[in-house]
């Protein structure tokens, strides 16, 4: 029951990608809370139970740590689990299994763990402190894990397929706000998007915005605004956070000499710092202005619309900083 409408949403794209990998490889299975009969809190696994049966579409008790631990065990024993965390925020409950066991198996004893942990992340859905967090950094900081976050439906499908075929544990962060807000026509063929490759979303000459996830769209909106003001902004979508595409990061920094590092996640200890570290060390001679970080402030994610709007980075906030940087 593939969806056949001309345009595919981000949420459907993920679902199609998993579906195709389930068809393609018997060792792939999905496991998580409420993913069977219910089809998952966000309907990513809708219809999979009927098609692939209860052995490959596994409803679990409310046990994130056991889901990750069991997934890792299954991966060690030859399967390719695709685990669903109902919300990225609750991945914290499996933190020890992810960072202390799964991530270290290959290094400790040469044992591969081909496992994907999918987690609905991000805000702008009035989810409040527990259902809006961006959780990439602890995993970006854990050697042995790969981390991706698609910004488009095309990448959502291509990256989930690549992640499932990858032989290392991959944290696949899907943005809840993008689920139904972005869609596009997808090629009918079996394609993947390689892990570790960033994508230039817009060419520009005056400055670069390096970002990922939902913020790619805010950056593009800002770039459109600014082009009207004669400021030419390049937008790089990282797509994969580990391994980072250092080549693309340094190339755009060297090209425009002014860089804005943008993410929805909170500022301190966010990816912006890592990017600043790479650029300030390896493209220093090319820089014509300060590296500007734009991120959420260091607070939990507030619930009330008035507060959440103030909390989240946006096209307007990017445009404002960009004007400042352009004058610099």
């Amino acid at each position: 029951m593939r969806v056949t409408m001309a345009e595919t949403t981000y949420v459907e794209a993920i679902r199609e990608g998993i579906w195709e990998e389930l068809e393609r490889d018997d060792s792939v299975f999905v496991m998580g809370e409420d993913i069977g009969v219910y089809g998952g809190a966000f309907k990513i696994t809708k219809g999979m139970l009927e098609r692939f049966g209860p052995l490959r579409v596994v409803d679990t008790p409310l046990s994130e740590s056991a889901i990750v631990g069991a997934g890792t065990g299954a991966a060690i024993n030859g399967l390719r689990p695709v685990l669903e965390m109902q919300f990225a925020d609750f991945m914290a409950c499996g933190f020890d299994q992810i960072t202390n066991f799964a991530a270290k198996c290959r290094y400790r004893w040469g044992q591969q763990v081909p496992m994907v942990i999918r987690a609905p992340a991000g805000g702008n859905i009035h989810g409040g402190p527990f259902h809006s967090q961006n959780v990439e950094m602890p995993y970006v900081h854990t050697p042995g894990l790969k981390v991706v976050q698609p910004a488009t439906a095309y990448d959502a499908k291509g990256l989930i397929k690549a992640a499932i075929r990858d032989n290392d544990p991959v944290i696949y962060l899907e943005h809840k706000y993008l689920y139904r807000s972005v869609k596009e026509e997808l090629p009918p063929d079996d394609y993947t998007v390689p892990l570790g490759k960033a994508e230039l979303r817009r060419e520009g000459s005056d400055m670069s915005v390096i970002t990922y996830g939902w913020m790619v769209h805010e950056a593009l909106a800002a770039a459109r605004q600014l082009s009207g003001e004669g400021i030419s902004v390049e937008v790089l979508d990282l797509r994969t956070l580990v391994p980072l595409d250092r080549h693309a990061i340094l190339a755009t920094a060297k090209k425009t000499s002014k860089v804005i590092l943008l993410h929805e996640d909170t500022l301190t200890g966010g990816l912006g710092g890592e990017l600043a570290g790479i650029i300030a060390e390896h493209a220093f001679d090319y820089l014509d202005g300060p590296l500007v970080r734009i991120a959420a402030p260091d607070t939990p994610v507030p619930f009330s619309d008035a507060l959440e709007r103030a909390f989240l980075p946006s096209a307007d906030k990017v445009a404002e900083k960009a004007r400042w940087l352009h004058r610099f």
Binding site: D59, F303, D305, R309
Partner: protein, 308 residues
């Protein structure tokens, strides 16, 4: 009890559908007997850690419909000043810990609240509320075992409503009697009809007496049923109709009214009057809440750390 019912109905059926409530929307419809029959025993010095089905516990603690509706509508002056949403509400002054979204996390926290009571030699206790789904979390296990070992004064009210979101009990546990787990930790337990407020009341009374007297934790499993969907967006088609029919007959408010009529000579008019009072209070609360301002964005970064 009626207040919780009507208030939640208003929130879910009216405000939520009118889009005045943003974010998720959970109710404890049909399970009101559990918070009502238990929180009624609480003293000012006690602490409560209600779940997302226990609005009545907050009402009993003196949290007003006005405050609750301001919370649901994300207003300043709501219980969390708009920082947290819907039933994620609590109040330090009235000793209610707001829901910790990570299901099961409140069980060790309840132990710590109780530890402090014992530390100071108080006779206060903690009322912890959680569901069947919470029993699958590691925190549930660690928290109960620690409370047993340390003999902490906690009364656990477990709302076994047969489902965790869409997951039926048999996919959560092989042995459907959660109380038997408590026993394996050395914690005394009872299993009661969670829709019979008097049964809950009596079991909770025994549990509270046990905990207050320093004999340690006590576990009450309340067998109930989640009449509503998991939250307002969930039609819950995964629940067999038969279950609904079976439990419709066991509505805790109808059961209590029947009791009031038979044992205490109450009549229809009493209930009509009560309902009228309740609805009037809700009218006032809705009006008040919707008149409250939204939080000032300038306060966004306040209160992450102590201001020094």
């Amino acid at each position: 009890m009626l207040m919780m019912r009507e208030l939640e109905e208003r929130i879910e059926l009216k405000l939520y559908r009118q889009g005045k409530i943003v974010g998720g929307c959970y109710t404890g419809r049909g399970q009101e007997a559990i918070p009502v029959g238990s929180a009624i025993h609480s003293r000012p010095g006690d602490w409560l850690t209600p779940s997302h089905r226990d609005m009545a516990a907050l009402l009993i603690r003196g949290i007003t419909p006005r405050e609750i509706l301001a919370q649901y509508t994300g207003r300043a002056g709501g219980l969390t000043n708009g920082r947290d949403g819907n039933m994620h509400m609590g109040c330090a002054r009235r000793h209610c810990v707001p829901i910790i979204s990570s299901i099961g996390a409140s069980i060790p926290v309840a132990g710590g609240l109780a530890f402090a009571m014992r530390y100071r030699g108080e006779s206060n206790i903690v009322f912890n509320y959680s569901g069947d789904g919470a029993t699958s979390r590691g925190d549930w296990h660690e928290g109960l075992n620690m409370a047993a070992v340390m003999q902490l004064p906690v009364v656990y009210l477990c709302n076994n409503n047969l489902y965790a979101y869409s997951t039926p009990l048999d996919k959560q546990m092989k042995n459907p009697h959660i109380g038997e787990r408590a026993a394996s930790y050395g914690i005394p337990y009872e299993i009661v009809d969670g829709n019979d407020v008097l049964a809950v009341h009596n079991a909770a009374q025994r549990a509270v007496a046990h905990a207050r007297s320093g004999e340690g934790p006590y576990f009450v499993e309340c067998k109930s049923f989640r009449v509503s969907g998991h939250s307002a967006h969930d039609p819950a088609d995964y629940v067999p109709k038969s279950l609904h029919e079976e439990w419709a007959r066991r509505d805790p408010i109808l059961m209590l009214q029947k009791h009031m009529v038979e044992e205490h000579g109450a009549d229809e008019q009493d209930f009509v009057n009560l309902r009228r009072q309740v609805l009037a209070e809700i009218e006032d609360a809705v009006e008040w809440a919707l008149a409250q301002p939204f939080p000032d964005p300038a306060t966004l970064e306040d209160n992450v750390y102590e201001r020094v």
